[in-house]
Subunit: 361 residues, 2 copies
């Protein structure tokens, strides 16, 4: 029963070729033959087919090898498939229109000044959102099927953002949390492609995390890291629970000043140093529970957690070691992200392209 | 680019029809038309096609409605696709050969008496394993890509069970942990089909958990629940960590006597009652972290955790409420499984059938 139709196979191969070029940039036919495990004539036929549909074109470009003979490169046509990506922050929205291959075709940003992010997005994306194949919004908080269940940052609870964006802009939107978007970004365009199960931690006004498997967002992969209880019966948290990581972490209150705290600790301020160490331990313990429950192979510390991790790696690692089985620790890499502030917007766009390429299969 | 070939569509529809009959049992063509949203002539053509390949046949059976006129039923042919399922326990292995539609065609069980489970499986499955389309083993512990990373129950660490079973029986095996298998079983053949993200807790010699999404096992969904640290710096655990749930739960040491403890508590034994309550609180706190990290909509308490939950539901729920955000709690159902001791073996078989049906698409 496992017959595969010729047309189906050709469609899958076309999608694989587009994905390859989108992810890795322009390549020669020989490189594509190697990367996709198809023969040269199949690649030729697929490339001709995709040139006709306007997805790619061939150029004489880069010289290869010692002979220096210029070689024909196959590359994506950016406008063949565009994705609208927006990132909502507490004080601004950012927009990028990204073309196939990853080129940013348009960019814009707007301060919110108290305005509703949805209204700002309607203005800032203009007509671009309507023409894009996919539109994806990244938002800080706990996201579940288009609904922002909880956002410390924006003060939202149970807001159906996908519906609000659709109403404002006249098209369908995907919604992902900022940490998950950043994880997708680091996996696709950063340095985390080796990871099969990547946990991205985001320090903003709240502490959130996003879990992606093979670079894809997971249902329930949006994690409220800040509300892992690390101290039963501990300090009262804004969410109504007690002993949450956000309530217990001493540096949490001056997160915006994490660089100042690090500097003070470095200059011998014992209180700052102890506060940082205890915060690292609390973070490590919360991570122990998340790692036990989800089994990632890589953790990236993003937002202000990047600075915290860089100055407290030892206590984070030792608290994690005290709360995680050796098997789960042994394959776990702890690192900082490479895309910095851009990760979530890039990841929102790549979440859209994953859907575009899936639609070609 | 999103063309769908006719042959591909027909193949998908055939798989959907087989899945429908496998999951829900014999149905009339009218019921199939309704359930699959296809028209009557398409169903007729698919059924004829699948009758020819030997997957199903039509019988005159059940009478319907007040007229009592017997109606033609479409049903699976069990031998058209069989799955070998085994469950490894600390003292025995259990085997079932299951046919398409869920009928158990053969059953066997063997005491281990110190023998290696793989050798016992080779004997107990006989030739049956070789002829089945899929073979799946459920094993208590932390399973990752065929490897049993850690099993308190069997005293294994890093055993490549998939490879060992393949060597012993001459065929490929899938390996899932017992809790995940039981979750798949409860979703497929039990009472948990409404759940999109189901967390099954298994109390054996160790405490494990399995997370399935839409009834499917997830990479990293095998969770060592017993090694969530609920008391930093607490009692030493067999795994080398301190304060693990298994080390802190007072009833854990006499898990086999949980019914006795419940009975004693019921008869007014204050020490037994307090021990049960504290154990329920520890369990609820560990669950708080797992729920925050994974966001299930249903939790089933299996193995001896079933008895513990039935006698300590209030403390489990209140400790969970103290450690989980309202949004995550509000949609969460806590229940006990309905398949009892059979869940893992049934779920191992259903894990195999999911692969069989995927292969038809």
């Amino acid at each position: 029963m496992a017959r595969t139709g010729t047309e189906e196979l050709r469609r899958r191969n076309r999608a694989a070729l587009v994905e390859q070029l989108h992810r890795h940039g322009p390549q020669t036919r020989a490189e594509l033959t190697e990367a996709l495990g198809l023969n040269r004539s199949t690649i030729g036929a697929l490339a001709a087919d995709l040139a006709e549909t306007g997805h790619l074109h061939e150029t004489t470009g880069r010289s290869t090898g010692s002979a220096g003979r210029p070689s024909t490169l196959v590359e994506c046509v950016p406008k063949a498939a565009t994705v609208t990506a927006v990132e909502i922050r507490v004080d601004r929205v950012r927009f990028a229109l990204v073309g196939l291959g990853g080129e940013v075709l348009e960019r814009a940003e707007a301060e919110l000044d108290g305005a509703d992010p949805v209204d700002a997005i309607e203005v800032v994306t203009g007509g671009a959102a309507r023409d894009a194949l996919e539109a994806v919004a990244a938002v800080p908080g706990l996201v579940d099927a288009g609904v922002v269940a909880h956002s410390t940052e924006l003060g939202w609870a149970g807001r159906d953002l996908a519906a609000d964006l659709a109403a404002a802009t006249g098209r369908a939107w995907q919604v992902v949390d900022t940490a998950t978007a950043a994880a997708v970004g680091e996996w696709s365009r950063g340095d985390a492609h080796e990871s099969t199960k990547l946990l991205y931690l985001h320090g903003g006004r709240g502490l959130t995390a996003g879990l992606v498997v093979d670079g894809r967002a997971q249902r329930g992969g949006s994690i409220q890291l800040g509300h892992i209880v690390v101290q039963p019966g501990g300090h009262e948290c804004g969410c109504g629970l007690r002993g949450c990581l956000e309530a217990e972490m001493e540096v949490f209150g001056y997160a915006e000043d994490i660089e100042y705290a690090t500097l003070a600790a470095g200059m011998g301020d014992a209180a700052a140093r102890d506060g940082l160490r205890r915060s690292g331990e609390d973070l490590g313990r919360a991570l122990g529970a998340v790692v036990t429950a989800t089994g990632p192979d890589e953790i990236l510390f993003g937002g202000w957690l990047r600075e915290l991790y860089l100055s407290t790696a030892a206590p984070v690692r030792s608290a994690l070691a005290e709360t995680t089985l050796p098997h789960l620790r042994s394959r776990l890499r702890l690192r900082t992200p490479v895309l910095g502030d851009e990760g979530a917007l890039i990841g929102a766009a790549e979440t859209g392209f994953a859907a575009v390429i899936d639609g070609m299969r």
